[in-house]
Symmetry: C2
Subunit: 173 residues, 2 copies
DNA sequence: CGCAACAACTTAACATGTTAATCGGTTTTC
DNA sequence: GAAAACCGATTAACATGTTAAGTTGTTGCG
């Protein structure tokens, strides 16, 4: 039995609910692991007055050149409202620029400025060094195995239908 | 060619910075995968007026019986300020209780109420069913492989010294 | 004892996550 | 071609993430 470690406290409040050990749940594992990664990058970003999300946007813009807001949200994995706020801030700091698309005035095109590019060039070496150290410590092979499993899981779950909140054993509605 | 789609815009702004493809970075992979998992759990939690973090706290309390705030922050993986706010809310909803520790009035002990337990019992079956479906689709073996790699990476990174934001090629201070 | 150092929260302040509502702009439909 | 339906982006409102500062209680030391 690998899953038999029971709560060791006296209360045992939820004895009737033998859920998997909480700290072993997949969302918690992913969260903890991601935090253990980001913990190493944050100091460097912070030294350049960048949050993790701002950095994601600048990286995405540097790779894409010009890009529409919706597409930027997709590649930087941010929701629209967050992106709106961050773009407003980055534009104020002259790290990015925006222009309206003449063909459709609802859309706007975002691009990185030369000042933004310089910032990336200042941060990237440290980031790359940290990433290299991580790869060295964990092992390049295991890292790519992990990446592959993450991708496979993501694909499997995207194919899984999303259950809404309705319960069929409860007539309350 | 599966990974060869290069930026198709004219700008190619960051040609000089050949960083790994942004969307393949480890933090992004972990974030996307975690979101693909949580996407399936959120509707059920939302149907019971619970956020992901509130659910983590209730789960942790159900497993632990009574626990101090600091320890709860550790097992639920929340920072102190977030936990303070959430506990205030959950206490107002009578899902948890708090009492001061007589031996040290700075500390308080948190426990789940019977109302909180009933809520867990209402949500747990759906959560377990979703988790079971995920395991079935992804494969139990691959899931445990993934968990193992996540743990190993976390351990490797905890052992890696945290670099501060200081750069040695810049005397600005 | 009295006070400095420390410890456990808690608050404060600001950035982001998340859902709903809003607001121009565009397309569809009659 | 104007109202309706739709769409991209932003704003609103509230919860959480994150760092710094504050509050109260405890401990160590003279």
């Amino acid at each position: 039995m690998t899953t038999a470690s029971k709560p060791r406290t006296a209360a045992r409040a939820a004895a009737k609910i033998p859920m998997r050990d909480f700290s072993q749940s997949l969302p918690m594992s992913l969260l903890r692991t991601r935090e253990s990664v980001m913990r190493h990058f944050r100091p460097s970003l912070r030294a350049h007055d960048l949050t993790e999300q701002q950095w994601r946007i600048l990286r995405a813009l540097a790779a894409s050149g010009e890009i529409e807001v919706t597409e930027l949200a997709r590649v930087a994995f941010l929701l629209g409202p967050s992106l709106s706020r961050i773009l407003r801030d980055l534009e104020g700091r002259k790290l990015i620029e925006r222009r309206l698309l003449k063909a459709d005035l609802r859309r706007s095109i975002v691009s990185i400025t030369s000042k933004g590019l310089k910032l990336i060039e200042a941060v990237a070496p440290t980031s790359e060094a940290i990433y290299a150290e991580m790869t060295k410590r964990f092992g390049a092979r295991k890292l790519s195995d992990l990446q592959a499993l993450l991708h496979e899981l993501e694909a499997a779950l995207l194919a899984m239908p999303a259950a809404d909140g309705a319960e069929d054993d409860d007539a309350g509605e």
